[in-house]
Subunit: 343 residues, 2 copies
């Protein structure tokens, strides 16, 4: 590899002092703009790289934020990452991104890598089966802020960004009840995760509040995959007392379930009303269009990065944890509209 | 911030030599495994961070690969990134990810950041309006390999990973012709980009080969957004000589166009057959299901990273450029099946 170009090399070629070169490249007011342009042009021509890397080592800062997500290839997560990248980029931070593939083991290994890469801050949405907090403990000890988003771990030293999952679950279920549903099934993910346990809680609150019966048979824990959607449709068709409404915590899973139910001859929403979650593009393509909950992914990414950078800049004290709750929104469409809705 | 824990601190506490600590942490065979476990546990407890960062500075390597994509929030790109992350992670590399938001200006700024962060290699899929190569030139000069994927720039010093876009466009168009279409519209993106110019070329080849007429009115350049899909449907409805088939270079755009055409009373595929591109989940939800081209996104990501790492390890010489062509596949579904298909 070629030798690194230094400010001394540039100074020598331009026959000026290294101090002038350094000042020009750092946009120092003592250097006139013509000289700055000249020096910058020469620096670029010679392939000079600013000493961010070395100065980061001195400052013990890398201007890099780490992100660990369960999966990169989900519509919701790609919206979150788009928001994070935009906000980070505008603030001069880079994003180091990794995925746990829903495995706690890989998440622990990802955290270790992030730790050794000396990220200035870490953002994480935890895997399905994460049980411990240990792999985040080292960051806290070093004063590196950890922020959880979407799937959060409640920890006194960590901030979080989430929606009110209990409220969202309550709103979905209340809507189904307002449409005449009396026997509602809830299809959810691993209840260790706040997003799923919260929505279940909201579901249960709504059912009880309206004087309906909670039935264990009507809560189905799955991995919310497309296969799970088919499985649920099959299970429903085999039930003696079938539900008249379903609330599924993921749009792709809900759409696959709807397709399978339609193939089995069920009318949507007349026989069974269906509601999903996330407002994925598929929700507006399935017929009838899927009622769902708008989840502000891009905004969640922006807020997470902004909050973390404020911590780093000292605008927010680093050891005060807070949970930022973003607004979700029920979007009512044809898949659940059994009668004229009045709110 | 707390003082960094060193091997000397660990040695002092355990009352052993720093050399033993260093060897144990580097898994040296001279140290027995019981001692290794003891030392590793203490190191973890004390919050020791391996000196990757400092040693990277010495080795002038960061074990980090940079990625610049047009947009993070697209189904195709999230599949590519999932493949890249998996492959990079398995090889001990980190991914620094940024998005150009389809702007050459932001792409240039992203490239500069990647350059100053001293990525070991760069992967890029270029923005809609990128015209120059200059911002990648500095990497080449430094011996940092640059690999383009999907939207590639043909450059003697850079490798690329792509599909055969000419072939894919040819196959789609030939299929439409085999279904009886005689007046086929092609909706595409900015023709500066290889992916779009290639598919157009394939489209033209098929049209000419089958003795049909090329008509400028039937090639529509858009940004392939969902709005563009609605615009195309409106334009078709206003045409005197309407097409009997459409090939749209993006599934989300195609699905929106299909929905708008259906609302206007067109029968799909009888009045107009439709084919998309990418095999996005929406293609299996729209009715009739959308014929499309399977684009191996995850595989493209894996191959790009593997190829770049092989360059870095010297398995492949660093200045030999190559273009790896992955297989795409036409998936025939109801939106284009006017008659029994025989291949």
């Amino acid at each position: 590899m070629e030798k690194e170009v230094t400010i001394y090399d540039i100074a020598k070629i331009l026959e000026i002092s290294p101090a002038t070169v350094s000042r020009a490249l750092n946009d120092h007011p003592a250097i006139n703009s013509k000289t700055k342009v000249l020096i910058s042009a020469k620096a670029m021509e010679m392939g000079y790289r600013s000493n961010t890397f070395a100065s980061n080592l001195r400052r013990r800062s890398t201007n890099t934020l780490g992100v660990i997500v369960p999966r990169l290839n989900s519509h919701f997560m790609s919206a979150v990452l788009a928001g994070m990248e935009q906000e980070a980029n505008e603030s001069g931070y880079n994003l180091l991104i990794s995925q746990s593939l829903e495995s706690a083991k890989k998440e622990i290994s990802n955290a270790k890598t992030m730790f050794n890469s000396r990220v200035d801050g870490l953002m994480a949405s935890v895997a399905y089966d994460t049980e411990t907090f240990e792999h985040f403990e080292n960051f806290i000890k070093k004063g590196v802020p950890v922020l959880f988003f979407d799937r959060i771990i409640d920890h006194p030293k960590c901030s979080g960004v989430a929606i009110d999952n209990v409220l969202a679950g309550y709103e979905v279920t209340s809507h189904l009840i307002s449409q005449g549903c009396r026997r509602i099934m809830h299809v959810t993910g691993n209840l260790k995760r706040n997003v799923y346990s919260g929505r279940l809680k909201g579901f249960q609150n709504a059912v009880l509040e309206h004087g309906l019966k909670l039935d264990d048979d009507l809560v189905v824990v799955t991995d919310l995959s497309q296969e799970a959607g088919k499985f649920v449709a099959q299970r429903i068709s085999e039930m003696e007392f079938q539900p008249d409404g379903i609330f599924i915590s993921n749009d792709l899973c809900a759409v696959t379930c709807m397709k399978a139910l339609k193939e089995k001859g069920y009318l949507i929403p007349d026989d069974i009303a269906v509601v999903g979650f996330n407002n994925d593009p598929v929700s507006q393509v399935i017929e009838p269009n899927l009622t769902t909950v708008y989840y502000p992914g891009q905004q969640m990414g922006e807020v997470a990065v902004r909050s973390l950078i404020n911590h780093l800049k000292g605008t927010q004290p680093i050891d005060v944890s807070e949970t930022i709750i973003l607004r979700s929104e029920l979007i009512i469409r044809g898949s659940s509209t059994k009668m004229a809705v009045s709110y």
